[in-house]
């Protein structure tokens, strides 16, 4: 399979048609989708129509976007006009959005062809895609293992070659962790650089859309296409997405890179830690100044996250009540109708987080829980800022382990939550971070290295990621 960049170049030059490219990927889907289950819906008809339109444009001589004819898989929490969008939840079954998310509009304008909506943990709550109401996605590298989550379908789709690129969303690691577990690149951009309009909210102050790809360069291109100011999202930053593509071959010589102490010790599998140390050593060899650095407040990240995210979620998800759209379980009174609808429509993990969040916001508990979590958030940002006075970028594992087996962590929510221990702090700080494959663990499964950077520090982040990628080839 070719990369997104190769496909776009071939389509633009007329060497290959968009339909031909699409058929190749639809072929891959029909071959392996039944065992991987990356998609909730494969949008064959719409994809053929979109690819035909691109080919007509080629025939007319353009203008063609940078992703002309490139198949893309879209996480099923991004609204797609006229195409069912479910968040892998029964409560939204049958709902068809009347609009596209801004990122979907921008991909289409760049010539990308949506091939389907990808499976996910229900409402993006989970780290294994086992919380999908429509059954789990399987890791293409080993079907007995999870692909990670919550954007497991999007990660698996790229790893399986169903599409060269895909979109996910990252609230506490939901792009980076599945990218690591599936052996692909995954980026969570700086909060506010990519529009959230049309992204179905989980934790609004943490959610950010980002790409999966097989290479750093493809991920960079997608970021540039989907990023930049959107007046429809009040939290959107005014500037364009940092111009990362042009710096990918800058190298790391002279860069200062910190290895996060708190993410290299207890709880991190030795084979994963060993790979990350190897990455640090290679960066040093390539001319970077590499040192260990402590970011003490990240230790409280998990606790703060599991107050902030559920609190926002409890409010964001209260609109699913059976009154206006989605599932409705009829009952004699409106109150009972709402209760029965929500009881039937939400899965256990979603209910658990709604209850957690409702409790955290309750009168008398607000200060102790939500209020304290906000203070921790400020501390985390401050500790990171302190580290970034000395370093251009930071390095850590993306996930404490390689992909685990189905059912391994479902019985104990806490062990599942711990899977996000390396990724969560970034969302609380609003900073960018990305995962780039860095070899295999003892079990032969992919290991991901996480590169972190300060707000809008994407250029430094992509330089480090590109260098790490280059060291393996």
């Amino acid at each position: 399979m070719s990369s997104a960049i190769e496909i776009a170049a071939a389509v633009q030059s007329g060497e290959r048609s968009a339909i031909e490219v699409l058929e190749e990927h639809l072929g891959a889907i029909s071959e392996r989708e039944s065992e991987v289950h990356a998609f909730n819906l494969v949008t064959t008809d719409q994809a053929i129509a979109a690819a035909t339109a691109v080919d007509e444009l080629v025939a007319k001589g353009g203008p063609l976007g940078p992703l002309a004819g490139v198949p893309v898989a879209i996480k099923d929490n991004l609204c797609t006009r006229g195409v069912a969008t479910t968040c892998s939840s029964k409560i939204l079954e049958g709902w068809v959005p009347p609009y596209d998310a801004t990122v979907v509009t921008r991909l289409a304008a760049a010539g990308a062809i949506m091939v389907g909506k990808t499976n996910m943990d229900e409402f993006a709550m989970g780290s294994s895609t086992e919380n999908s109401a429509f059954g789990p996605t399987r890791n293409p590298h080993d079907l007995s293992r999870v692909p990670g989550g919550s954007s497991g379908g999007s990660a698996a789709a790229v790893a399986a070659g169903f599409a060269p690129i895909s979109l996910g969303s990252d609230t506490g690691g939901s792009i980076r962790q599945p990218a690591a577990l599936c052996g692909v690149v995954g980026v969570k951009p700086t909060y506010g650089t990519v529009s959230r309009l049309g992204l179905i909210a989980f934790g609004s102050s943490l959610d950010q859309v980002g790409p999966f790809a097989n290479s750093v360069a493809e991920a960079a291109l997608v970021c540039e296409v989907i990023g930049g100011h959107d007046p429809g999202d009040s939290t959107s930053l005014p500037q364009a997405f940092p111009a990362v593509s042009e710096h990918l071959s800058d190298g790391v010589a002279g860069m200062r890179i910190g290895l996060i102490t708190e993410m290299m010790g207890e709880g991190i599998a030795p084979d994963v830690a060993q790979r990350i140390r190897a990455a640090a050593e290679w960066l040093a060899a390539a001319g970077a100044e590499v040192e260990e650095v402590s970011v003490p407040a990240v230790a409280y990240g998990l606790s703060a996250y599991y107050l902030v995210a559920p609190a926002e979620a409890s409010s964001n998800l209260s609109r699913y009540d059976g009154v206006r759209y989605g599932l409705r379980v009829d009952a004699p009174t409106t109150g009972e109708m709402m209760e029965l609808t929500r009881t039937a429509g939400f899965g256990d993990e979603v209910k658990r987080r709604i209850m957690l969040g409702t409790y955290a916001l309750s009168a008398g508990y607000y200060d102790a829980f939500y209020g304290t979590a906000l203070k921790v958030r400020t501390l985390i940002r401050r500790d990171f800022d302190k580290a970034y006075e000395r370093f251009d970028a930071l390095l850590s594992p993306t996930s404490p382990t390689t992909a685990f087996s189905f059912g391994d962590k479902t019985a104990d929510p806490m062990s599942m939550y711990l899977n996000d221990v390396c990724t969560i702090a970034t969302n609380l700080a609003g900073h960018p971070a990305m995962s780039v494959p860095y070899g295999l663990g003892d079990d032969g499964m992919p290991v991901g290295a996480q590169v972190l950077a300060p707000a809008l520090g994407e250029v430094a982040m992509f330089r480090v990621a590109a260098a790490l990628e280059g060291s393996l080839s």
Binding site: L78, C79, T85, C87, L92, W95, P97, P98, Y99, A101, R196, L197, G198, L199, I200, A201, G203, S204, S205, P231, G232, D233, S234, T235, A311, E312, S314, S315, S318, R319, D321, V323, R324, Y325, T333, T334, G335, M338, T358, L361, S362, A363, Y366, Y370
Partner: protein, 477 residues
């Protein structure tokens, strides 16, 4: 009413919700219009569709600032919060409102009486949709089915929270009336209570004069007119006093004003405070209007009702009550313009107070109005004639001199009037005798006779003077 106000003090604080007269809703571009077909003024955000996001309406902020400045409030850095509660007319099941950091802080409003009422805050929030419950008791709990219209959902509201500085139903009415005049003056609202543009929740408590602590309050909802407000306050105060006198404890409640029965009825107890789980709205950023913007809004503010009243009193010598009435009718600009044209101040105010209730009076030509007041003051026309000419001036316009002439109105020659008076005295010696003896009732007899004889052209005051001149000196001593 049986309240002994020498013993009891009624304490009233009002929360007034006003719909801001914006083109579109508070956080989206759906139109803000009253009275459309159900569910036509809607868009994804209005319906709370997944993936929709709020974007703050700048016009709503500007109107909020206008009101804040008009109410002498501080304009502060503010934050929107989510107020979480489940109800079908709330599309997201949370309302975006300003909680601990409102756009407008501490301010005040001056009543026409001169009393100053404190304003605690005036904050922005979104309105809800409207539910109709069909069947059962017409309430959500026992309805056969319910219908929801989201046209109103997301309409910008400004909630103006007054301090409990009001002390009677009349004062409460004056407050709302003044507030409405200010809202209309600054263009923030059309002020229509009947269309729900202005909604008043009324907190009432009672205590004995001299008590330091406030009594337990009840909040009254469903007040749809100024008249209901006065009646509801009086009813509720009396109910609470009766309970206290009967040795009962007042429970903090939300009560519903029933206009037909003329009483308040318990809706729910407020002893257990609702838990709305407020937290900062993460989809919006902090709102901090620049000083430059605030200054620009301040400069563009129109002259406000209180300033209009003060100005009118100073220029014309009108008293407070007259000024309040004239400003309420919007006639103060006309009066001032007439004064600029040399109108008689006292006649100007008298006519504006008594003879210009017709809305067409607003279109009067100040110069012609001024001319009429001068003719009136100079005794060129009788008061009856003046009223006739003024009425025609209001309806048809024109020149008061020409109108008077067309009617054949003219000042009577004093010799002519003397003759009429002398003749009447001669024809009615008995009545003249009583007049000379100082019988007050008989004066009207002669004035009436003169008026009849002159077909209303004589001025009553002049006639009274002529009669007095004819009383023999001996009778006066």
């Amino acid at each position: 009413m049986s309240i002994d106000l020498s013993v009891w003090e009624i304490v009233i604080g009002l929360e007034v919700h006003t719909e801001l007269a914006t083109r579109t809703k508070l956080f989206c571009s759906a139109p803000n219009e009253f009275g459309g077909e159900p569910n036509t003024n809607i868009d994804p955000l209005t319906l709370g569709l997944p993936g929709s996001l709020p974007v703050l309406n700048e016009q709503a902020v500007e109107l909020a600032i206008r009101v804040g400045l008009a109410l002498n409030c501080t304009i502060d850095r503010s934050v929107f919060s989510r107020k979480n509660y489940f109800y079908p007319d709330q599309p997201t099941n949370y309302q975006i409102s300003q909680f601990d950091l409102p756009i407008n802080g501490e301010g005040w409003l001056e009543l026409p009486s001169g009393k100053v009422i404190g304003i605690e805050r005036a904050h922005l929030e979104e309105d809800t949709g409207k539910s109709t419950h069909v069947g059962g008791g017409g309430r959500i709990h026992d309805a056969t089915y319910s219908l929801v219209d989201y046209n109103r959902a997301g309409v910008p509201l400004l909630e103006i929270v007054g301090r409990p500085d009001l002390r009677s139903g009349d004062e409460a009415r004056a407050y709302v009336s003044e507030l409405r005049a200010i809202l209309v003056a600054v263009g923030a609202s059309d002020g229509k209570m009947e269309e729900g543009s202005l909604r008043v929740d009324c907190n009432v408590s009672v205590r004995k004069h001299g008590d330091a602590e406030l009594g337990t309050r009840c909040e009254i909802k469903n007040i749809n007119s100024l008249r209901s407000l006065g009646r509801a306050v009086d009813y509720e105060a009396e109910r609470q006093i009766d309970m206290i006198l009967a040795g009962e404890r007042i429970e903090q409640q939300t009560r519903h004003w029933n206009e037909d029965e003329g009483r308040t009825l318990k809706l729910r107890s407020k002893e257990q405070a609702d838990d709305y789980r407020y937290f900062p709205e993460p989809d919006l950023v902090e709102l901090s209007p620049s000083q430059e913007w605030i200054d620009r809004v301040r400069e563009a503010l129109p002259i406000l009702p209180a300033a209009r009243r003060h100005r009118l009193c100073e220029r014309s010598g009108a008293d407070t009550a007259q000024a309040a009435l004239i400003v309420e009718r919007g006639l103060d600009d006309l009066c001032l313009a007439a004064l600029d044209c040399g109108a008689d101040p006292s006649r100007t105010i008298t006519h504006a107070e008594h003879n210009l209730s017709d809305p067409k009076a607003l279109e009067l030509d100040p110069e012609m109005f001024a001319k009429l007041t001068k003719m009136d003051a100079d005794g060129d026309l009788s008061s009856t004639q003046t009223k006739t000419v003024l009425a025609e001036l209001v309806q048809l316009g024109g020149d008061p001199g020409e109108i008077a002439e067309a009617h054949g109105f003219k000042a009577m020659d004093s010799g002519e009037l003397d003759a009429v008076v002398d003749q009447l005295i001669a024809e009615n010696p008995e009545q003249w005798q009583r007049f000379c003896e100082g019988d007050p009732k008989i004066s009207g007899f002669f004035v009436g006779k003169v008026m009849k004889a002159t077909q209303g052209q004589a001025d009553g005051k002049v006639v009274a003077g002529l009669l007095a001149d004819r009383v023999p000196n001996a009778a006066k001593e």
